[in-house]
Structures are given as C-alpha cells and as structure tokens.
Assembly symmetry: C2
Homo-oligomer: 226 residues x 2
Amino acid sequence: MPEIISQSYTRADEAFDCLQTAIVKGDLSPGEKIGEVELCARFNLTRGPLREALGRLESRGLLVRRPHAGVKVVSVSTEELMELYRIREVMEGLAARQAAERMTDTEIADLYATLDSHETMIEQAQGQAYYQAEGDYDFHHRIATGSRNTKLAQMLLGDLYYMVRMYRYRLSTASGRPHMALGEHRRIVEAIAQRDGELAEFLMKRHINAARQNIERKIQQGGLTI
Amino acid sequence: MPEIISQSYTRADEAFDCLQTAIVKGDLSPGEKIGEVELCARFNLTRGPLREALGRLESRGLLVRRPHAGVKVVSVSTEELMELYRIREVMEGLAARQAAERMTDTEIADLYATLDSHETMIEQAQGQAYYQAEGDYDFHHRIATGSRNTKLAQMLLGDLYYMVRMYRYRLSTASGRPHMALGEHRRIVEAIAQRDGELAEFLMKRHINAARQNIERKIQQGGLTI
DNA sequence: AGTCCATGGATTGTTGACAATAAGGTTGTG
DNA sequence: CACAACCTTATTGTCAACAATCCATGGACT
C-alpha cells in the first residue's frame, strides 16, 4: 500500500481511489451486486468512509445505487462508449485550441520531450499495449491541463478519462495503432507550438474521431463484446 | 418540505439537494468557512448523511474541502464563468447536432410548444428575468435529453447547468436579451425539425457564444463583480 | 399447479460517541 | 515590541451499535 506523503489523506480518499481503480481495472464486474460489508473486508475499511466514497463514485457515474438495494458497477454498452468518444472529440478539441493559446513555451517543450520518450518506448516495447495506452493518456493529460480551463480539465481528467480507461481494460485493446497515433500527436503538438488554435482543434477532433472509428471497426470485426 | 413520492429518498439525497440549492441560490456565501455541525443544525440533519452529500458536492466541484480544515463554497471568478460558457458552447453544440439526428417527432413538437409558451410568458411578464431564465433552462434541458447521449446529458444537467445558475444568481442578471434569445432558439428548433444536425450545432454554438459575450459586456460596463 | 401474500433474514441507512488533527490564542524569549 | 513555540480547543475524521427497508423463501389460497 503506497503511503502517500503530501498531506493528510483520509480513509474516504483511500476508499475512493481503491474503488475507482478496482472498477477501472475490472476487478469489480459490472452488474455484479456487491455488499458494503464485503467491500469493507476487501479493502480494510469501515462503512463510514466507504459510504462517502460510494457517494462520490455514484456522482461520477461509475456505479449506480438504489436505496436499500445495494450498489452495482455501471453496466456499459458499445453505444455508450461511442458516445463517450463523441464527447471527448468536442471537449478535447476545445482543450487543444485553448492549449495552443495559453501553454507556456516550457510546457510545449515538455510536450515535445514526452512525445520523443513515447516514441522510444513504443520502439523498445513493441506491441506492449500498456505503454501505448499510458503514453496516450500522458499526452492528453498534458493538453487538458495546458488549456488553463479549470473546469474543462476537471471534467476530462476526473470523469471522462476514467470512463474511457475502464472500457479499454474491458476490451483489452489499447487503440492498437501506435505509430499512426504518434504521428497525429506530433502534428497536434506542432500546431500548438505555432499557436494555431484552430488547427490544433481540428487535428485533435480528427485524432479522436479516428480512434473512435478504429475501436468501432474492431468491435464489429472481432465481435468484441463488453 | 416537498415530500417526494416516487421512491425512498434517503437523508443523504435530501442533504445533497438542500446544499446544492443553497449554494446555487447564494444562501451559502463563497469562501465562507462553514462548520459541519452548523450545517447540520441548519438543515436538520446528522453528520453522516451530511458528509456523504459533501463528498458528492466536492466531486462535482461546487465546494472545496481540505482535510481537517473544513469546507467552503467554491469561490468564483469572471474568467471561470467565461470558461464555463466555452465548455457549454462545444458540448451543447454536440447536443444540438445529436438531437437533430435522434429526437422523435413528438419531442420536436413539444419543443415548438414550449417555445410558444415561453414567448407568451415573456410578453406577459415583461422584464421578469426569472421567467426568461426558466424558459431558457427548459429549452436547453430538452435538447440535452433529446440528444440521447446519456453521459452528455448527465454532464450538462448534473454539472454545468447548476454552475451556470449559481453564477446567474450572483450576477442577478438573466442574460437580459429575451426576444433575441427567443429568435435564436426558434431557429435552432427549425434546424432540428429539418434534421439538419450541422446547422443546429452551428446555431447553438453561436447562440451560446452570443450569451457569453453579452454577459462579458455587461460585466465590463457595469463593473459587475461576483 | 401457479400466484399471491406474509414473515424472516440480511443488508442498507442512520445515529451518537470517540479519536485524531489542525487552527488560534497565549506565553515566553530575543 | 515582535516572533516563535507551545498548548488548548474546537472541528473534522472514524468507528461501532441501532433502526428502517427490501429481498427471498415458504406457505396458503384460487
């Protein structure tokens, strides 16, 4: 258990993180009804903090809760995953535009650096889907925070990305097109470096749209069901 | 106190609703540090459900909470309000596009009907800002749900609208351009009725952008501060 | 035999007391 | 007189017991 150093980290926060990662990683199956006491035993918690965490998770839409009837992980459909990507398309487009207008030069330099490191990571660990996914996450994370739009970053980082990662784990497919995605990333960063907000928005929207189509195709082909 | 009939309504839900409306209406001043026991006394609650509600509110960004240091309503700036409108612009644009593709004919008919009722309401109660705001809210609400995009509707109705309403209460200005906004609404509905998603998205984005500029102008002119 | 109702059990929601932590005042010293 | 360290106090975080609610199993009736 990684003892966090920074500041007092309440049990409720701990419960929240544990549950969130458990849901995202698929340790808690969707639709499965789970009792509170069972969860307490599993994560060494008491019901007080656990309930507080459950409230937060419910508010974020990761689980549903009927009064007196227990809590279950949200069950998901491919349609909803597609809808999620449609939301990402417009929101991250906005993020890219604002990032082009507001990111500092050092932030852009860092962005280039992470891009290079992702490239070497992909070359080294060929086909290791995990690193691809992490690199992709890192890239989008930086742009979201670079937009200087507090609420936008909060919605992307706090809600949507966890949802997307949950679906990814369940599909066990990490977009699967490493080099192409990397090239798209590079072009987006170039647009940001040139302070061309409109272009950055356009490229980001196209990038996410391509990712969505890729997943949709894979699902239709392989009959991948969630 | 409106006794909800439908299903068992827990104390935590009650606390959540009470606090949310109190924050939105400005009964709880931003930045003001409020103790839990004081809140309990104010809303006739105990600390358990209250804490659960506080967790949910924090997760939604309506208040901030430092461990062992209490909870305070989120303090807001005009810049953040503008950012909120930028987010609304892209998200509601998407909602309008999807609504044009997916709304049923009866839903569209209802939309027309509400538009007419809003018109008569505005004519009758001239300058009554309240009705304008409610009509505006109703319109956007219907389009969000009409998009058939669960997560999108959830984010708009559950997060953004409460935020916007909070700012509106504090500014005590309800956009202030009734007839113009109504005309814009009507054109959006016409685009939806013609199943022209692209046009509906464009018009909605322009509508929200105009509202943003209107508020920005008012703030600069009148020196309205939040 | 199928369906409806009732009762028991288990689970959730709630409560009040206890412990841990940070803020604020007080006191002592430079 | 100002600053810093200590201590007090009030507030938050946590816990375990109590009460309310729902689900399931069993029985009776149609």
